[in-house]
């Protein structure tokens, strides 16, 4: 299996800058700065079909192109290391593996949009990762890959680490922009887009850690190479899949984009835990839909998932076995989303706690048959909320009712949780 982002992965330590450089690290930066026109960098990312790894899968090159040539300065490059999607930990692993790819990626993207200030937004529970990044930023600066007039190219960039104090919504890029400015982290609905008016009303490009880490490799090896990494011709690159839950070996694996779910679970995560049978999974974190068993073999890439009516999300697979109560699991996630709502819009702020309460009653055996249509209607209506948090929150409920309604009905008819032994 070609390891690109995890090439320098060691079980017990972080790859050093020297190690990274020995494998071609910072070559891309040297090649690009002051030598490639901005548009060429953008075109390379576009040709490589680099889709945002933060969950939305938006083409990275296209995002950079929305920063107008005439846009005002300074411009900002934000690295989104908030990673608060339950089940997701790839960014943490990536930072603990080979952090310089992220720094190099930030400088290259920064160059392509002429952003001279970089900010890594990182969640509070990743304090270790934050310190690693600060240390490695220092090293990269000493080595001349960051700071003023990088490698004599005339391009300068400084990167700082911004610690968050813990709210899921801060991962949403517009809320993050408010958070960084020391404002309440409510999202801002475009237009204007952040690439036009972001931090301090100046152009701001935000990318997920993994997206940025791909950039130097694309520049160095070309778009065709990147596309060839994928398991299927319609996808590109590798993907960091996180697997957690009822599997033998939970972990984060770099696999070709489009690897089959069954393959990931069975051959990489060591299959199901002893005595557990696969029931379903959330394929891309808590804000994606439960997969029906029929899709156990699905190719895990943005396009295929979308066509099947699902979302790849962050590619973080939470595996549930037959003995786990999905009502309980959904209730757990709904409690999470309700707690993490930013409180701006009605469907999310008031609707999610409402759904949580109904799920809690069903789980406690107090559910009523009319709760099912009510939940169904609500999971449809919260799609009309201000940002994507609430639709994500509705995904587990809606898919629970679509694929596992029997389990819910059982709770209601038996007046108790049929799995009461567990959870």
């Amino acid at each position: 299996m070609t390891q690109v982002l995890f090439k320098n992965r060691h079980p017990d330590r972080i790859a050093t800058m020297e190690e990274y450089r020995a494998g071609g690290g910072y070559d891309a930066l040297t090649a690009v700065l002051g030598k490639y026109p901005r548009s060429k960098v953008q075109q390379l990312a576009l040709d490589a079909v680099l889709l945002g790894r933060g969950g939305a899968g938006f083409p990275a090159g296209k995002k950079w192109m929305t920063v107008a040539e005439t846009a005002p300065f300074p411009r900002y490059m934000v690295c989104n290391a908030d990673e608060m999607e339950p089940g997701t930990f790839k960014d943490r692993v990536l930072i603990h593996t080979d952090p310089h790819q992220i720094i190099e990626g930030m400088v290259i993207v920064g160059y392509s949009v002429m952003a001279e200030r970089g900010i890594i937004f990182i969640r509070a529970s990743y304090e270790n990762a934050a310190r690693i990044l600060e240390r490695e930023i220092e090293r990269a600066t000493t080595a001349g890959f960051l700071g003023d007039n990088i490698l004599g190219s005339g391009f300068s960039m400084k990167i700082s680490v911004h610690r968050s104090a813990g709210r899921y919504i801060c991962g949403e890029n517009t809320a993050q922009i408010n958070a960084i400015q020391g404002k309440r982290a409510n999202p801002i609905q475009p237009p204007p887009y952040a690439t036009e008016k972001g931090l301090w009303n100046l152009p701001t490009v935000t990318h997920n850690v993994e997206t940025l880490a791909c950039v130097p490799h694309i520049i160095r090896n070309g778009p065709e190479w990147f596309k060839s990494l994928a398991a299927i011709p319609t996808a590109a690159g590798t993907k960091l899949y996180c697997v957690s839950g009822a599997v033998q070996h939970p972990g984060c694996f770099e696999l070709p984009m489009g690897t089959r779910l069954s393959d990931i679970i069975e051959n990489h995560a060591g299959g199901m835990q002893a005595g557990c049978a696969y029931k379903t999974c959330l394929p891309g974190g808590a804000s994606t839909r439960f997969l029906p068993k029929s899709l156990y073999d699905i190719e895990m890439d943005f396009d295929t998932m979308k066509k099947a009516g699902h979302r790849l999300g962050t590619g973080s697979i939470i595996v549930f076995d037959e003995k786990t109560c999905l009502v309980g699991a959904t209730l757990n996630m709904m409690a999470f989303f309700a707690r993490e709502s930013c409180g701006w819009c009605t469907p999310c702020r008031e609707g999610l706690p409402y759904m949580r309460d109904i799920l809690a009653r069903i789980e406690a055996g107090d559910g009523k048959p009319e709760d099912i249509p009510l939940l169904r209607q609500m999971s449809k209506y919260v799609w009309n909320s201000y940002c994507a948090l609430a639709p994500g929150a509705a995904s587990p409920v809606e898919s629970l009712l679509t694929y596992f309604e029997d389990e819910v009905q059982e709770h209601i008819h038996q007046h108790q949780c049929p799995f009461s032994s567990k959870g």
């Binding site: 608060m84 930990f89 270790n128 104090a165 020391g182 839950g245 939970p250 549930f320 999470f336």
Partner: protein, 167 residues
């Protein structure tokens, strides 16, 4: 009152950026790391350092999970209640902690050393169940491992306490 030398340290930290407000989180964390929690007095001091009104700092401080506006113990234990930990034995872990410390969520041990709080998925699902103590993560928790951790932090796990952990 913030000691003068520490105040200078904070001022230096703020002086590095164009918009002081950007540093509100850092300043709060620095104060919290040093004084335990963000008291009214510290919040007001932070506000004046950042050229914000106390309300503006409060708007931020009350938004986040890891900013404590009320007194907490020296060790703040955040137990992950994310879905992966939930299905990997969170309940048992929590019950064990409650029993050992004799406190429930939101409470602090009478000696003021431990506070127990929930938190959402902390991104260590590959090592579920997990918890965090003062922003340091502990994974693959079992009752035995919890005892080890508590002992290392100087907690007498054999001490007789109300073991019911009543909710």
């Amino acid at each position: 009152m913030i000691p003068e030398d520490f105040k200078q340290q904070l001022q230096q930290h703020i002086a590095g950026v164009e918009h002081p407000r950007e540093k509100v989180m850092d300043v709060i964390f620095m104060l919290q790391d040093r004084f335990g929690y963000l008291s009214d007095e510290l919040l007001e001091d932070a506000a004046s350092l950042l050229k914000m009104t106390p309300l503006e700092v409060e708007e931020i401080a009350t938004f986040y999970e890891f900013i404590y506006r009320r007194p907490v113990g020296g060790h703040v234990i955040h137990v992950c209640d994310g879905v992966v930990c939930w299905m990997s034995g969170y309940t048992a872990i929590l019950d064990h902690l409650r029993g050992r410390l004799g406190i429930d969520f939101g409470e602090t041990t009478p000696d003021g050393r431990f506070t127990l709080l929930p938190t959402c998925c902390i991104g260590y699902c590959d090592r579920a169940p997990a918890m965090m103590i003062n922003r340091k993560v502990y994974g693959n928790l079992t009752p035995k491992r919890i005892d080890e951790i508590l002992e290392k932090l100087g907690w007498d796990i054999t001490g007789k306490r109300d073991d019911t952990g009543s909710l």
